[in-house]
């Protein structure tokens, strides 16, 4: 049995065209891989309002598939007025909406599916009357939440706050593969014979979701095999911390900019110290004009920039920058320290000058 496992598509009215293009790519990979099943592990839509607005578009697209489609509600699908009516939404004929709380057990393609929709608390899972796995059968769990044992050091994400669950829930109920959604970063881990996978969000939904976006192709027979299929049409998120020169110049290497695609989200954070904030704003505006139409989103800002008028001409600052430049390291960590030193040094000189004026 071949199954496409994707999650956190966040279809929304705001970026309808982009989000639907990602859905198209998911449908295309399902057809291309001749998958027997397409599984959405939650947050197909951004809010319940988006469910109401875009379920027709969703229906139209998955309606072209010949295989069954399983849709599990995530916290975002259940967000907003009327979300309790999600089980009445028409997602299409071949779509099975797994809305039943706290769990639902169905069988498709000879495999058992234990569906666990998003819920704030899963404290009583030990008492759930889940029937034991039938002899000789494979069982796939589909869930939306944070697996506590997997979340450590995964980078900042709002999602981890809700729906905490233990890997024990899946080992206890004998799942061979767990199709997870909720955490937008891609990761997986084995717990005994249970393999838990987050494919990550199928699209770039917000800042700092870097790395390729895609879906898992899961083959289930005597063993469970998982391959990641990147969705090029989702684009990627790129973040750059660029030190601004004292005269407000922002230097983006042309080679870097040439690597950006039309679906990418580029975020630039201008760092350091500058003599005139207006020059930075102008430089930012110029870059914005240059790149805005070449990528999906182009954010540029200078949240932590310090301003010190006339500092460039000060002999101490001149001498400091001259020596500082000579210490430029090659490794990224050293570079981060080096950039920080420039910022802190110039700020210290600025403060010294200000205290003298006082």
């Amino acid at each position: 049995m071949k199954m496409i496992h994707c999650a956190d598509l966040h279809l929304s009215e705001d970026e309808k065209e982009y989000a639907l293009s990602v859905l198209d790519a998911i449908v295309a990979v399902t057809v291309e891989e001749k998958a027997d099943l397409l599984v959405f592990a939650g947050d197909v839509f951004n809010t319940f309002h988006d469910v109401e607005i875009l379920s027709g578009e969703f229906r139209k697209r998955v309606g072209t598939l010949t295989c069954d489609v399983l849709v599990l509600p995530g916290n975002h699908d259940l967000q907003g007025i009327g979300a309790n009516k999600i089980d009445r939404v028409d997602f299409g004929n071949q779509v099975i909406a797994l809305t039943q709380q706290p769990f639902q057990l169905i069988e498709r393609c000879g495999v058992e599916f234990l569906a666990i929709p998003f819920q704030r608390s899963l404290k009583d899972y030990v008492n759930w009357p889940v029937p034991p796995k039938a002899p000789g059968k494979r069982r796939v769990a589909i869930a939306h939440g944070t697996v506590a044992d997997m979340a450590i050091y995964t980078g900042g994400s709002d999602e981890v706050e809700d729906g905490a669950m233990d890997s024990n829930i899946f080992t206890r109920f004998q799942a061979d593969y767990v199709a997870m959604g909720h955490i937008h970063g891609r990761r997986f881990q084995s717990f005994g014979s249970t393999l838990i996978h987050y494919p990550g969000s199928a699209r770039v939904w917000r800042q700092h979701e870097d790395g390729p976006r895609g879906v898992n192709l899961v083959t289930i027979d005597d063993r469970v095999a998982v391959e990641f299929r990147e969705l090029k049409s989702s684009g990627q998120y790129y973040h750059y911390a660029i030190p601004v020169s004292l005269d407000g110049k922002i230097d983006i290497a042309p080679a870097v900019a040439e690597g950006w695609g039309i679906k990418d989200w580029v975020s630039i954070e201008c760092l350091g110290i500058v003599e005139d904030q207006g020059l930075v704003v102008q430089a930012e505006e110029a870059l914005r004009k240059q790149y805005k139409s070449r990528v999906r989103k182009f954010n540029i800002d200078h949240p932590g920039l310090s301003i010190a008028a006339g500092i460039a001409a000060h002999p101490l600052a001149e001498k400091f920058l001259e020596i500082w430049k000579g210490k430029e390291p090659v490794d990224p960590k050293g570079r981060e320290i080096w950039l920080k030193a420039r910022e802190l040094g110039l700020i210290a000189i600025k403060e010294e000058l200000e205290s003298r004026h006082d």
């Binding site: 009583d124 030990v126 009357p129 029937p131 450590i152 050091y153 233990d166 600052a317 500082w324 000189i349």
Partner: protein, 756 residues
């Protein structure tokens, strides 16, 4: 600017007042008191204490302060100097031209700052950076935060490890609890035997229960099938959801009403037709009668005329008889020979025939009688009598002679003819009336039939719409639909009970569950049918007996089981909150790590800053080369050859100078004049750059040009003049040399010269 010096009991001077200008020259031979005056100015400007070398020297030379008095009058604000700074920067004596100022003095640091750091001393900044970079000390707030954060992170990590350990322990406890459940049964052999007995009985009961379960699950499957079948059937009978019986009943009633009407109108039409037929028959008869009569009249008319004639001309009788014979036969009388007889049965009662018969008879008689009156009378009598008898007295002849009889008969014939004509008219009239009546009735009937047909069409359409053959068929379907709804409700109740019992609300899950259970039962080869209720009850009774028998042992066992269940409960309760706590802790650790990383980057950045600012200090002597540039900038046009001076240190021997050939040599290696002039330049630049450049200072020179030849002295004075002109400082010079006085007064117009 010092305006006046009042000096008393200082060296050789007592009660002396000296006026000063912007440039003041003191001229005197050796021992004239130039050095004493220099010291007096130094004493007045700097008030050196006994603690330092200069103060000690001064007091040793001139005695204690109370005996010495030097008062300076200033043009503007009085000015005072630190003794070391004054001697290093603002006082140049012959010996000082050798330039060996004391390193590390305040003015030196200020000079460095002014020259190289825009007035900022980098050293305190360096120290501050290094302190911040020292993450071991933690004395700074910054490092305290780091240490606290590291401590916090360790605490969080410990807490997390604690929760993970707790979880592992709980899961282990759970496993242990489950295992000990099995082990406890093995501990007590007696219990084991008893339980074995009970188990065997229970096994049998279990089999029976399994059979019941099979039945139950079969029932569940049947109920699910039934529910689905009902749903399918209902969906097939949705047409009958709305009750349309009243509609069809109304149609049927209308059809019935119209049908009755049609029947009535058909009967009426039939009656009218009967009446019409009867009228027609009567009319036909009447017409036949009248035609018959007319025929007779027309057929016999000529003969009757002949009869008339005959009655007058007897000779023609025979011939007439023959002619009338056929008519007579038709009329029911036969004329034989001279006589005539009535054929009684075939006698035509109608008058025409009778008349003809009478005439025939009369003719026959007359033929026989030959005209005898009496005979004729008798004969007429007989005829009258016979006619009366024959017509039932309806025709009564009164004539007594043949002629009158003939007339009378004609009269009656006419009368009868009239009667028949009228009768025919009457019958024809009635016939027409009946015919109109029939048409009317037929029309009414046809209209009713059409109405009926329309209603029947409506009924046909209704039946087609509901796909039934009749109203009863529809009613059957309705009943079937209502029955299905009832069955659905009943089925739903049953299904709900099943769902509640199974704890599964989804039909597909329920079906899957039942199928799986049945499969398991199949695998166990559980039979379809089991014992009777009575037999099962007996089995249960046996088990209860056995259970009661082992009550004490079982109580102990149950206590153990209870404890174990409690432990499992604790495990479950303990596990419930752990994931959320782990996630929360991981989140906090992540945050702490980020903060720590940020702070560690800052610490390393401070370390780098400390190194960079340290390089400023180490670099200071090298950077002091700028003094050379400053000299070049200040006095370049006067001593252009020394543009490339680099000061290695603030010692004469460490001043490196490019000579004319471009070779680098120490200042000591320069010619005396060049070296002195250059060092004066250095001294002036030092004085200028070491203090506050916006202030106008006092420059005191004691025999500065003593060793110089006249050309070099002029060069030095030019250098000095440029400086004084550029910066407006007050200049006080002591010299023994007349030539120098002359050179100075010619260089500085308005210079005050005091002779000592």
């Amino acid at each position: 600017m010092i305006k006046k010096i009042n000096i008393d009991k200082f060296g050789k001077f007592s009660r002396k007042e000296i006026s000063l200008g912007p440039v003041t020259v003191f001229h005197g031979k050796n021992e004239a008191g130039k050095t004493t005056l220099f010291d007096a100015i130094f004493y007045a400007l700097c008030a050196p204490g006994k603690a330092n070398v200069e103060g000690k020297n001064l007091h040793a030379r001139y005695g204690d302060a109370p005996e010495c008095k030097v008062v300076l009058e200033f043009l503007a604000q009085p000015r005072h100097y630190d003794p070391r700074s004054f001697l290093d920067l603002y006082a140049i004596r012959e010996s000082d031209i050798r330039f060996e100022p004391v390193q590390g003095s305040d003015w030196m640091q200020a000079l460095k700052n002014n020259l190289f750091s825009g007035g900022i001393d980098p050293e305190p900044m360096r120290r501050k950076f290094m302190q911040r970079a020292d993450d071991k000390k933690g004395s700074f707030k910054h490092n305290k935060v780091l240490h606290n954060t590291l401590k916090w992170r360790d605490q969080l990590a410990d807490e997390l490890a604690g929760f993970i350990a707790k979880k592992t322990a709980l899961l282990s406890d759970e496993a242990t609890a489950h295992q000990s459940e099995g082990r406890s049964q093995e501990l007590d052999e007696q219990i084991k035997v008893s339980i074995g007995t009970i188990d065997r009985l229970k096994e049998e009961l279990g089999l029976q229960d399994n059979i019941v379960e099979r039945k139950n699950n079969n029932m569940i499957m049947q109920e699910i099938d039934a529910a689905e079948s009902i749903d399918r059937q209902i969906s097939g009978l949705e047409l009958y959801q709305v009750n349309a019986v009243a509609e069809i009943d109304a149609i049927e009633q209308t059809i019935k009403n119209i049908g009755d009407d049609v029947q009535r109108k058909t009967a009426a039409a039939s009656v009218a037709q009967d009446e019409w037929r009867r009228a027609k028959t009567a009319m036909d008869r009447s017409e036949d009668d009248r035609r018959h009569f007319s025929n007779f009249l027309s057929i016999s008319g000529a003969n009757i005329s002949k009869i008339k004639d005959f009655l007058i001309r007897q000779s023609q009788i025979r011939k007439i008889i023959w002619d009338l014979r056929l008519i007579g036969a038709a009329a029911g009388c036969i004329v034989i020979g001279g006589g005539a007889c009535f054929l009684t049965k075939s006698f035509i009662p109608e008058l025409t025939g009778m008349v003809i018969a009478v005439i025939l008879m009369a003719l026959a008689r007359k033929l026989t009688t030959g005209g005898d009156a009496e005979t004729e009378r008798k004969f007429i009598e007989e005829i009258r009598s016979e006619v009366a008898v024959r017509t039932g007295a309806s025709i009564t002849l009164v004539s007594t002679t043949l002629e009158s009889l003939q007339a009378e008969i004609y009269q009656k014939i006419d009368l009868e003819n009239d009667v028949r004509g009228r009768a025919l008219t009457a019958k024809a009239s009635e016939f027409k009336q009946r015919e109109a009546d029939v048409s009317e009735k037929e029309l009414l009937r046809t209209e009713a039939v059409e109405l009926l047909s329309a209603q029947e069409n409506t009924r046909r359409q209704w039946l087609e719409r509901y796909r039934v053959g009749s109203r009863d068929d529809y009613a059957v379907k309705r009943t079937e639909y209502a029955g299905l709804l009832l069955r659905k409700a009943e089925s739903a109740k049953k299904i709900q009970v099943i769902k509640d019992t199974a704890g599964l609300q989804d039909m597909s899950t329920l079906r899957l569950d039942a199928e799986r259970k049945l499969k398991v039962l199949d695998e166990k080869a559980v039979p379809q049918e089991g014992w009777s209720d009575t037999e099962v009850r007996q089995l249960r009774f046996k088990i209860e007996n056995e259970t009661a028998h082992l009550k004490g042992l079982e109580a102990t066992q149950s206590g153990i089981a209870k404890d174990m269940a409690g432990n499992v409960g604790k495990v479950m309760g303990g596990l419930a909150d752990i994931p959320e706590k782990i996630v929360a802790l991981e989140r906090q650790i992540l945050q702490a790590d980020k903060e720590i990383e940020t702070m560690q980057v800052e610490i390393k950045a401070y370390k780098m800053l400390g190194d960079i600012f340290g390089a400023f200090s180490h670099d200071a002597s090298q950077v002091l080369g700028r003094l050379g540039h400053a000299v070049a900038a200040e006095f370049g046009d006067i001593i252009p050859a020394w543009k490339k001076i680099r000061v290695a240190d603030l010692k004469q021997g460490s001043i490196l100078v490019d000579d004319a050939a471009g070779a680098l040599r120490t200042a000591e290696k320069l010619s005396t004049g060049a070296r002195e002039a250059f060092i004066l330049g250095i001294r002036l630049i030092l004085a200028l750059r070491s203090g506050d450049a916006s202030q106008k200072h006092i420059l005191v020179l004691d025999e500065p040009f003593r060793s110089l030849d006249p050309d070099k002295e002029m060069a030095m004075i030019s250098l000095l003049k440029k400086f004084i002109d550029d910066h407006g400082w007050q200049l006080i010079i002591f010299t023994f040399d007349e030539r120098t006085v002359k050179n100075l007064t010619s260089a500085f117009a308005g210079a005050v010269v005091n002779y000592l």
